[in-house]
Every structure is written in structure tokens, then in C-alpha cells.
Symmetry: C2
DNA sequence: GTGAAAGCGCTAACAG
DNA sequence: CTGTTAGCGCTTTCAC
């Protein structure tokens, strides 16, 4: 930077200003500086900037895994929006191990990320206190709760479970199954599903859980086990579309007619859900839109004013009713 | 850090050493420092460390988009391996826009990433020179070439295209189609495919391209157009599984028997490829393994020794022959 | 095994 | 609109 300053015949601050607030510099000076920058191929050291200003223009995000298309899509949407305002995405994966989260949070705080995005709303006490103490804008996502660490943007997993139950109940199903990944949000879906069924007084639920990340094979195997414990199963709600695809596959193998003999419902509405046979009835979540919403919210929050808007943002869900249920 | 040093009755350097090279500090001193760190809840500022040492423990990666499962899987594998050695992943997306890459590279160099991962082997001159000048370990991936910027790990897209052609030719197909995303690697697959068919002297190829990122609908629409220009089409090679899934869907709609009336081949072997109807014949790429391999290579390269191994790493591909071709 | 001094390259705050 | 003066919080020498 000193070299650039010297070449342009100005002070270092001026170079700094041309880079961060070009409008605050006289056009002629600015042009000279920009010319020097180009000529010398100068690339500013952003770490030094971060150290001096304690603003990194980096947003950290923690997801269980990128290999679930729904989280990948959320990150895609988020990164895309952030890029527009010059922010970058630092990514962390927990692989569904809760202890991993706290370490990642430490590392992110250590890097002075300007904001943090977490998946889900259940976090260790350490995570909550560290984040509150650090005062970093934080967004929890893919779920909803009343007392977010800072902000939460997502939808009610319980309500989604209820909506699925209501649909299945209306179709006349009475013997229910749930095939779910063993993780927090899937459990909430089960809770809503189970309670709605219990309230109706009209059925029982057998449950089979699978270790995340979910695979199509897990779905097939899970359905097989469900069928063992409840041969008269009439409907199965899978906590994600991957498991549902596996269940559908197993039905085909066993010549179980879907939805006549067994209704199958998924979750998240992956692109393939509409393309498989039979087309899968599922809970539609706009994963990419969720990420974009998070990005927009952050953009707003990190702006000059920081207006502290609503803490809870419900982006909702809908039922994509197709042929499988 | 000063606080910790004071609390432990040592100098700041000692705290620094406990953090970076614990073994170089006497056990008793180390314990005292660690206690102070825990008691004060001290989180080191990694940016300051980066500034002083010019090592960031961050690896930058640029992909076209995360919403293609194959790239997401590669990033998943990469991030997982890097995390083990305390590295983090800074992610950039180009959305298939070539100009975006250079800006991202600048930003990454500005952050002093310890290494950079790029998708593909065709990059602007600016990117190549900047990277060479910066001397950052760089890995290009998802393709192969003879003169990588630094290292390349992937497979030959041309060879994959040839292998598909050979398989289809052996099945007796003579009227070929190619349905491909409009991007570099897909074009290479087409090239290999086309040349192998030409060499056999046994057929023609009609081509239809789609704007990335690919969708199932693009695949369906693309096949429809291909069928218009060549009603006697016997085989179609799709540059990715998403397009192939769409093609399969369109076949079902039109009651075209696959593979009897039309053979369909995909690329990358997504989990659904084995689960759809009919199961999709495709080129299998171990996307996650690719990312892991990159991670391992980087880990090695960034280690104390930096042994400068091979520059070109061919991870290969294989044909997953199922029912669709 | 431990410490003192000297920056890393930038931005903040204040002058002018 | 531009410059001066101080750091930001670490790690690197090099002594001891």
C-alpha cells in the first residue's frame, strides 16, 4: 500500500479511502491512485483491514452437511446474496455432531466473522453465551423458536408434521408410520405428526429412525423394518425426500401399490420429488429462498444503520400434493 | 492475550506458544496458561495471527454452484478433511460466469488463503498469472490437463465421453444425441463422445445444449427438441444426471421404451441414478472422494515439509451400467 | 524454556 | 478533501 501511495504521490490513508470509500476522494486523486493500483497489481491485505477495523466482510455458516441438497441450496442462495455486497461465506460442517458446533463457533469468532448462520435452534449453552457475549448478528435457520439467540428464520417443523398428519387422516389412513433421521428437526416433525394423530383419536404411529445423513438405502431399509413391526401400515411420513425416495423404491420391489396400499410423504421437495414414480407428495420448503432471505436480512443488519428488525421470521411451508399420498 | 499472560504470570509470547506449539512450553507453565485461557474465556484473534504469520489456515474454493449435488459433495469431502487439520473452507460461487472467477481469486488472495481450489482447467490469463505470482498452492479439479497452474486432480472428461460412445456403439446404437449443459467440461465430454463415434464411422450426433445450472425440466425439454431434429434417435448422452433424469421423465410421458427405443446415459452417478425407473446407466464419479483427495493432497502440501509431489492426479471414472442403456 | 523488541498492513480518529 | 499519529493482536526473530 505504501508503494501505491508513493507511486500516486499521496498518503496511505488516501489509498485506503479509494478502496473503501471512493466517493470521499477527489476524482483526480482517485484516478491517480487507481492507476497506480492497476500498474503495480496491488492486492490489499484484507486481514490487516479486518484487524484494524474489526470488520471482516465474512459471514460464517454452520450446516450439518453439504451433501444434503436442501442445506446446499440454502448455502447457495445465501452465498449468492452475500456476494452482491462483497461478503464471503466461511463454511463449517458438524456432520450432525453437536460438539462440533461449539468448536466451529470459536473458530468463527476468532476470525471475527461479521455474522453467523446456524442450522436449527438447539445449541449448547456455550454456543449461546459465546454468541451473545460476542454480540455477533446470528441467524438460526431451518426451524423456529420463541427465544432465538438473535434472529431465527425458518418454519415450524411441528406444524409441518401436523399438516402431513391432517392430510393423511383426511385420506382415511389410520395406521401410521414415521421414518425419520435421528436429528432435532426431524424429531419436531414427528412430534407434530404424532400429536395431530393422537388428537384425532384415530390411529397409532410406529416409528423407525435412521442415522443421518440419510440415504436412499436407509429409506428402503427403514420402510422394510416399519412393515415388519406393522404389516398393516397405511401411511408413512419420511422426515426427508431422500428417505421417501428409498421408501418408494422398496414399495416398487415389494409390489406395494402407492398410494393405494401405502401412502408415502416426504419432506423438503427436492427437484426429483416431482419426477419420480409415482410423483412424491411432500412438504415444500424453499431452501434456496431461505438462504436468500437470510442473506437479505444480514445485508440489512450489517448495513450502516442496523435497524434491529423482527427477531422471528416465518417463511412457512406448503404441502406439495402429488400422487404418492 | 495480554490478560491471559498477566493472569498466568508469563509473557504474551508464551501464551502464543501454548496455543500454536504446546510442546515447546514446560508442562507446568503450559497448564497455568491453559487454566487462565479457560477462566477468561479467551478466544484468540486469528486475523492478527494471519497478519503476523501470513498463514491463515483457510482454504478457498471456487465452484460454479453448490446446488449441483456433485460439487456440493466435493466441497463436503474437502471441508471434512480440512477440518481435521484445523483448516477452514472459504467458499466462492461463479454461477458459471467466467468473469466472476477472477474477482473471487483476488478476494481470496487478499485474505491470504493458504491454498486455492478451482473448478475446471480453463481460467482467464489473469487468474493464472495472479496465482502463479502469489505462489499459493492451487488445485484445479473436475477435469485434467497437462499444464496445471500448480496441481490438478480429476479425470478425463474426453475419455469419459469416449467410454460412453463405446458402450452405446457396442449396444448397436447408430443415431446419437447429446444433451449437454453449456459449459467447459460438458463440451469436453461431447468432444470425446463425438470423436469416438466419428472414428467408428458408424453414426451421427445431434446436439442440444442447455444453460447451466441444469434442471430436470431442461432435460425433458432438451430431449423433446432432440427428438424433433432426429426422430430416429437411438441413444442420448446427457452431460449430467439431472438432465438424464429429465430425459427419462420425458420418455415416460411419450411412452418411449428405455432402453429399447432409446438408450439414455447420464453423468456423475447421483444417488437417485440407481433408484429411478429404469435405473440410469451413467458415468460414475466419486465426487466426495475427489474432494477428500484434494484435502489430503493439500494437507500434505501445506505441511512442514511441502514435498511437491505429482502435479497431475487422475482419479478416474467408471461406467455404471444399469438398465437405461 | 522463556522473554523483549519489532513489526505484519491496514484503518480510526483527529487535524488541517 | 487529505494527511498525521496511533494502534488492531498476534508472531517473529533473537537474546537470555
Amino acid at each position: 500500500m505504501s508503494d501505491v501511495a508513493k507511486a500516486a504521490g499521496v498518503a496511505r490513508v488516501t489509498v485506503s479511502r479509494v478502496l473503501s470509500e471512493p466517493d470521499s476522494v477527489a476524482p483526480a486523486t482517485r484516478a491517480a491512485v487507481q492507476k497506480a493500483i492497476a500498474r503495480l497489481g496491488y492486492v490489499p491485505n484484507l486481514n490487516a483491514g479486518t484487524l484494524a477495523s474489526s470488520r471482516s466482510r465474512i459471514v460464517g455458516a454452520i450446516v450439518p452437511t453439504l451433501s444434503n441438497a436442501w442445506f446446499a441450496d440454502t448455502m447457495d442462495g445465501l452465498a449468492k446474496v452475500l456476494a452482491k455486497t462483497g461478503y464471503q461465506l466461511l463454511l463449517g460442517q458438524t456432520a450432525y455432531e453437536t460438539e462440533a458446533e461449539e468448536k466451529l463457533v470459536d473458530a468463527f469468532i476468532g476470525r471475527r466473522v461479521d455474522a453467523l448462520v446456524l442450522t436449527g435452534t438447539s445449541h449448547s449453552k456455550g454456543v449461546r453465551t459465546k454468541l451473545r457475549k460476542a454480540g455477533i448478528p446470528t441467524i438460526e435457520c431451518w426451524d423456529l423458536c420463541d427465544d432465538p439467540i438473535d434472529m431465527v428464520v425458518g418454519f415450524s417443523n411441528e406444524a409441518a408434521g401436523e399438516a402431513v398428519a391432517a392430510h393423511l387422516l383426511a385420506r382415511g389412513c389410520r395406521r401410521f408410520g414415521f421414518l425419520g433421521a435421528d436429528e432435532d428437526r426431524a424429531r419436531k416433525r414427528l412430534q407434530g405428526y404424532r400429536e395431530a394423530i393422537a388428537r384425532s383419536g384415530a390411529g397409532s404411529v410406529v416409528v423407525q429412525s435412521a442415522t443421518p445423513p440419510s440415504s436412499i438405502d436407509d429409506g428402503a431399509a427403514g420402510l422394510a423394518r416399519l412393515l415388519e413391526s406393522e404389516p398393516g401400515l397405511q401411511a408413512v411420513f419420511c422426515s426427508n425426500d431422500t428417505l421417501a425416495l428409498g421408501a418408494l423404491l422398496e414399495c416398487r420391489r415389494r409390489a406395494i401399490a402407492v398410494p393405494r396400499d401405502l401412502a408415502v410423504v416426504g419432506f423438503s421437495d427436492l427437484p426429483v420429488a416431482a419426477a419420480c414414480v409415482p410423483p412424491l407428495t411432500t412438504v415444500r420448503i424453499d431452501s434456496r429462498g431461505l438462504g436468500e432471505r437470510i442473506g437479505t436480512l444480514l445485508e440489512h443488519r450489517l448495513g450502516r444503520d442496523a435497524p434491529e428488525g423482527a427477531r422471528v421470521h416465518d417463511v412457512g411451508f406448503s404441502l406439495a400434493i402429488r400422487d404418492s399420498a
